[in-house]
Symmetry: C2
Subunit: 111 residues, 2 copies
């Protein structure tokens, strides 16, 4: 047997941030577009796009800066506030795996 | 915004115990039958029954003692091992909500 956990942040009962959403946003930032990240993560573009809308709606600010055209050909990148939100979520979640495992061992080890 | 979490225990990718399953088993124990507990929790009998099977299969022992007939009219009650498993899961999960909230505040408070 093994312990499992999930952590996320909601607003009014709707998910705003989760480890998966952070992965999605960072994939978009690295790939430069929602469509490329969606392909990498093997999810429909529409789903990726909807998640971004939910994140921005929940946080109340833009997390992606989607430039159109220009010398670099445009692209989607994290805004400074978006980058900050990612860092905060990572800080929130950091070390929980160790904590959960320790709790599990303490509670379920033969004694 | 508010932090949320879920904790559970799996075996080979299948859920064995969770807070909800502990609630279910304790409701069965209190009500004296799977059907009465299922009605209380507003879930189909079949679903409750299947969860009990999954729990027992995952743990590898009986958590419910289902007596048939007798002076008390039979009924389903936690076995000593089942009661022990419930206590261990509660110990595993105890105080985790506080921990999650503290980490959330630390990570997301304005600073």
């Amino acid at each position: 047997m093994e312990p499992k956990f999930n952590l996320w942040i909601e607003r009014d009962g709707v998910v705003v941030l989760s480890a998966w959403r952070v992965t999605l946003l960072e994939a978009i930032d690295a790939a430069g577009s929602i469509s490329a990240a969606a392909e990498q993560l093997n999810i429909p573009y529409r789903r990726a796009w909807e998640k971004v809308q939910e994140i921005e709606s929940g946080l109340g600010y833009r997390v992606l800066d989607t430039a159109v055209g220009g010398p670099g050909g445009g692209g989607a990148h994290l805004t400074p506030a978006g980058r900050e939100a990612m860092a905060r979520f990572r800080r929130f979640a950091e070390g929980f795996d160790v904590e959960v495992r320790q709790r599990y061992t303490a509670a379920f080890s033969a004694d």
